[in-house]
């Protein structure tokens, strides 16, 4: 038996009689939506409602969260768009495959939270105003924000808490928005794109064209997704007995791949915000020693799937130097969006843009049944046509050429 098939699965058979834990008490945390509606009733701000049709998911303490199917304003991520462009492209591609209405705005700024967590060269008022400016723009454009970055998602949730609890901050934000001649808007829910993928996972599986049953994947949940404002992350009784966030693992299992467990699942990736840019010895050591090597030893996966900018970057890029030192590394790293897109037949280079990733992902593509040599030739043909001036850029139609 190969090492791969011995990897511990999420659903290990229980050796004791199963007892279902049923949560009886009220959630220990306040309902921020109620608080936002109270502020709206007082005329302090405007709450943008989640547009129909809605998908409902369960969060940590049992509250339901509304996820929009479409009419979404795509709040892009600096690191995804800048350094892993196949990440955002795959999110858009999935929307297009389902024929869903979405908007990719230019009137969007970064949440600037990566910088704030790295350098503290900002303050609560600026951070809140930047969030509200983006939300106001989404409302003016007639779409509901769908947040691509895990740090934007976590930071906006923190900002929501600060806005709810501090009238002086609301006053500052209001004065800034007045100067910008924009309304003070906050969305009813802060929704991360991976929550949309989780809620859509069975529809994605229905459209799957590749067989992933021989793929073993580890999952890395993003810290800023489930550790910042913990109650607002998706949990599901069917996954990890509802004791860990179900995000990403839900998709991996829905696509028929095997989600393999490992002992440092809860650990951070080592990104560090400041560290990944100017102190990478730390990021590299943590990512390889605490995450990649543990995954290798305990699960030997074909791929590790995660759902945030910094996690993909750190886990992927840190492996090059470690490999040069002969460490036990070499696991391709993909986002859930890229994994889902590949399952539905997306082009690995035109759509998923895997040439921007560090670790060799060709063995994974082969296991998925993808002819990567042919695919790379197809990409290069388009790139040459762009270089010669024959094409301005690659269109969505070009990207889907089979």
């Amino acid at each position: 038996m190969s090492v791969t098939t011995q990897a511990p699965a999420v659903h290990t058979e229980s050796k004791v009689p199963l007892k279902e834990f049923v949560r009886k008490g009220e959630p220990p945390t306040e309902d921020y939506r109620e608080k936002l509606f109270e502020l709206e009733a007082k005329g302090e701000l405007e709450v943008q409602r989640v547009p129909e049709p809605i998908m409902e998911v369960e969060t940590k303490y049992g509250r339901k969260k509304k996820i929009p199917v479409e009419h979404t304003w795509h709040h892009k991520s600096c690191g995804q768009c800048g350094h892993i462009p196949g990440y955002s492209t795959s999110i858009f591609w999935l929307h297009r495959q389902f024929g869903l209405d979405y908007f990719d705005p230019k009137d969007q700024s970064s949440c600037t939270a990566w910088n704030y967590y790295a350098s503290s060269t900002s303050n609560s008022a600026a951070q809140a105003a930047i969030a509200v400016r983006n939300f106001a723009q989404a409302k003016l454009d007639g779409y509901f924000p769908l947040i691509h970055c895990g740090t934007s998602f976590g930071h906006y949730k923190e900002t929501r808490e600060e806005i709810i609890h501090h009238p002086e901050l609301r006053d500052q934000v209001r004065r800034i928005m007045d100067r910008l001649k924009m309304p003070f808007v906050f969305p009813e829910e802060i929704v991360h794109y991976s929550e949309w993928i989780h809620a859509m996972r069975h529809r994605i599986a229905e459209r799957q064209t590749l067989d992933f049953s021989n793929i073993v994947s580890t999952v890395h949940p993003a810290c800023h997704y489930h550790k910042l404002v913990v109650e607002d992350a998706i949990y599901d009784r069917e996954l990890y007995d509802g004791q860990r966030t179900a995000i990403v693992t839900g998709l991996v299992e829905a696509l028929g791949a095997k989600a393999a467990d490992y002992s440092t699942w809860h650990d951070c990736c080592g990104f560090g915000f400041r560290h990944i840019l100017v102190s990478r010895d730390f990021s590299r050591s943590f990512a390889t020693i605490r995450k990649i090597e543990r995954m290798k030893e305990e699960a030997d996966p074909d791929v590790t799937i995660t759902h945030d900018t910094g996690c993909v970057t750190t886990l992927d890029k840190s492996q090059f130097a470690a490999q040069a030192h002969g460490r036990n590394v070499g696991i391709p790293v993909l986002s859930d969006a890229q994994f889902a897109a590949l399952a539905m037949g997306a082009h690995p280079y035109n759509v998923c843009q895997l040439h921007w990733h560090g670790v060799d992902n060709k063995p994974l593509l082969e296991k998925m049944g993808i002819d990567h040599k042919k695919a790379w030739e197809e990409f290069e043909t388009i790139a040459e046509r762009i270089e010669s001036g024959e094409l301005d850029f690659m269109t969505w139609e070009d990207a889907d050429v089979k």
């Binding site: 892009k76 991520s77 600096c78 690191g79 995804q80 768009c81 800048g82 462009p85 492209t89 858009f92 990719d104 230019k106 009137d107 969007q108 700024s109 970064s110 600037t112 990566w114 910088n115 790295a118 350098s119 503290s120 060269t121 303050n123 008022a125 105003a129 400016r133 600060e162 901050l169 500052q172 800034i176 100067r179 910008l180 924009m182 810290c223 800023h224 550790k227 650990d267 080592g270 560090g272 915000f273 400041r274 560290h275 840019l277 100017v278 990478r280 730390f282 943590f286 605490r290 890029k317 090059f320 130097a321 035109n350 759509v351 560090g358 270089e387 301005d392 850029f393 690659m394 969505w396």
Partner: protein, 239 residues
């Protein structure tokens, strides 16, 4: 007087340390970040920085709760910048947020323009410039082998093919090389107004005067082109 015989920064006047300590305690987020401390060490077990640095989130919670101003000042200079800001320490059974305490301390260190903060951020200044001037934090043109020598040969391939490869991405907003995506002029203008109205430009002045001067020039030009005077945007937080 510190209770520790090997205490550092004893030449810094106590009043100066106390002023910064009080700033952190007066931060509106403080009451929500610290509720006391069991000294159980759960936060340390979860903390990535504690594994590779002489660093402990527990110490931050304890020192703030005990109001040990001298040790606070030591942490403020020697330890705050080691934190990864991952918030794994929110596992705290006392509902503390040690990462949040550290963020408030960093804010105070930057506002005070401490030399240790300047040192920690020296190599980082170009990132501050990027995010404040363009509205996106990292850009494709930063993927250069001399900036990321440890990221492998793919960085070189990206750098060599950057312009073509950016246009070989279907979403039109991503055909950029100096910005992560195409941010409109309207949005940059509004962002500059926010930086000015919240005193962030002055904050940069205290940390890196060179970056401040370039940023002010870039912002002034765009505001001016759009019929605004940069001096009309006073820091509203000082009112």
């Amino acid at each position: 007087m510190s209770i520790y015989t090997d205490a550092k920064y004893m030449d810094v006047p106590y009043e100066e340390k106390l002023k910064l300590f009080k700033e952190v305690k007066d931060d509106m987020r403080y009451d929500h970040n610290l509720y006391g401390c069991y000294e159980c060490g759960i936060c340390v077990a979860a903390c990535p920085s504690a594994r590779f640095y002489d660093f402990s989130p527990r110490v931050f919670a304890q020192i703030m709760a005990r109001e040990d101003v001298d040790t606070f000042y030591e942490l403020l200079n020697d330890n705050v910048w080691d934190c990864s800001q991952c918030y794994s320490c929110t596992r705290c059974p006392r509902q503390n947020n040690p990462g949040g305490i550290i963020l408030m301390m960093r804010d105070a260190a930057v506002r005070a323009g401490l030399q240790s903060a300047k040192d920690a951020l020296r190599a980082y200044s170009r990132i501050i410039y990027k995010v404040m001037s363009t509205g996106t934090q990292v850009a494709p043109d930063m993927l250069q082998p001399d900036f990321f020598p440890d990221w492998g040969t793919d960085v070189k391939a990206v750098a060599e093919n950057l312009d073509v490869w950016r246009r070989a991405i279907p979403p039109e907003t991503l055909h950029t090389t100096e910005l992560a995506w195409d941010v409109s002029e309207k949005t940059r203008l509004e962002l500059y107004m926010i930086w000015k109205l919240t005193g962030n430009l002055e904050l940069i002045e205290g940390i890196d005067e060179g970056i401040y001067m370039i940023l002010e020039e870039v912002m002034e030009e765009l505001l001016d082109d759009n019929g605004y005077d940069i001096d009309d945007f006073e820091n509203i937080l000082e009112d």
